[in-house]
Amino acid sequence: MPQPAVSAPVLDARDVCKRYPVGGGGLFARGPVPLLHAVDRISLTVGAGETVGLVGESGCGKTTLTRMLARLIDTTEGSILFGGDDLATVPAARFAGHPARAAIQMVFQDAEGSINPRFTAFDAIAAPLRRLNGLSGAPLRARVERAAEQCGLPLTLLGRYPHQLSGGQKARVGIARAVATEPKLLILDEPTSALDVSVQVVILELLAELKSRLGMSYLFVSHDLNVVRLICDRVLVMYLGRIVEEGPAEAVFRAPAHPYTRALVDSVAVPGQIREGPRLRLSGDPKSPIDPDQNACRFHGRCPRGQDVCGSVAPPEVTPGTGRRAFCHLPLMEHA
């Protein structure tokens, strides 16, 4: 069973923003350049030993947010506190040389596409150790083999190329590469979405075991709410660049407060369980993220509960339960 984190957070991101200028501009442009608000003032923490889930539709900014936290792209505003430093002040281009690079690692969605096809499994796992830890020769081999062993990858497979490995084995290479540098924070972007259920369980168990064994914290991005519910202590629900709800995963999924969370939960069919009662269904598409109205709820127009106030006043923070937050004028407050 998940345990709540008590100590200081490993990662503490505050008011992180990413805005991209779009169109307009140019020599004769008048007025300000339109800005696409991909991530709009998001604050989040990941506690020691905690698994935090991040869910939301494509285009909501999940990927942009995780790329910023992994310091692959620069933030427009905000701070990313990690191990006493504000990493947001380090340009992404120079972050590869920063000591925190080895401490924040990422497991990518597409294990196939994220491993260099001309690298053997050994080379793939060795690359970050060579670059970040300066290892070579026997110590390098020992570390690669240890990472492979920890991830249940037989050492006999280390000489193979990605195309010679199964989906589950490739997933293990991707995880071994990420944990080889002994990170404190692992950002996992849909690590099991391409896998069959029988393999998925094995990989999820591996991740749970590695977390406690190596003392890591996870930020887990996924579309699969059943998986998020299974392995995450806390969940953040994103909509159009904003967090609309957060709290303990089981509580949020059992009794969502934000109508968007409710719609997400209602969209998921439960295997072997015939659904009872009506579902909250969404129609239409999200609004444009370009220069959004700061005095309106982003979900307004698509929200089945929306009223006039939602279009003219920014939604207030409400507390549906312990450790929970939601941003809504008309939250669903029937509790279990």
């Binding site: 199964s166 998925q200 699969d224 059943n226 392995i231 069919a269 295997p271 072997g272 969404l282």
Partner: protein
Amino acid sequence: MSQPPLLSVEDLSVEFRTRSGTVRALEAISFAIARGETVGVVGESGSGKSVTAYTVMRLLDDAARITSGRIMFGGLDMLGADAGTLAELRGRELSMIFQNPRASLNPIRRVGQQIADVLLRHANVGAKEAGERAVALLAEVGIPEPSRRAKAYPFELSGGMCQRIGIAIALACRPALLIADEPTTGLDVTTQATIMDLVSELGRARGMATMLITHDLGLATERCDRVVVMHAGHVVEDAPTAALFAAPRHPYTARLFAATPRPGLALSEISTIPGGLPDLRRDDLPPCRFSTRCDRRRDACDAPPLPRVTHQGRLVACHNPL
């Protein structure tokens, strides 16, 4: 069943000849779909779900050989039919929607024209009427501003929109059977639900049967009247949905269900399926292709033939069912 089924697949076997040997992709599979029925075909990758769909559509690759069996569709022997008959049938009586909606559309043709193409080919209408009906179909599949969207190219539309176009193309001629091959994989969960609502509603309104190929047991539970479970080219179980999940009889079905995350279960309560799919190129494949992974295996399992027992509308291919 008093009426003959709309689609019946009997004893179908399909092989692929490859450089590294013959892959026995389907072996003696049988199932049927009644008019208006929604049947799910579930299983992991490599189980033969898509090969089954492509065989029914008669869209198999040249490397494939149908070595035994019969496919009857609305009284027509699909394996004996000539190319012209099949071409008349596909798109009119028998349609398919695909996993990757954007890739299954023509990238350099306006979506309205792509819908009209089907109508021009099959519905005996002129260009003007086809265009008008295409716009009406776009409205029917829930696309806002249909006359403007008809002029869009696939890249200008979202994944969910592209799948709606795919559905509009598939349903343009009111087919009797729709084959949906992982129609919502890769779409957002909210979009998945609306796309499946659309397929269910249109199916019901038109009395259309649907063969829903999916690896998602949740989707199968929610949308299907009956579920066919496949493993390594065999149909291992075929049962009404509620009965199947309430009490799976084939050990593989039980294992697959037990490996699927569900609310209320902890990670420790979810079990894995040991081993992997057998290599389907082997000459000495055991009669039961699950036997090497099965904890209910008995000596009898190694002796052919694999039993296929039908009892109270359920089929189980196992010597030692639950």
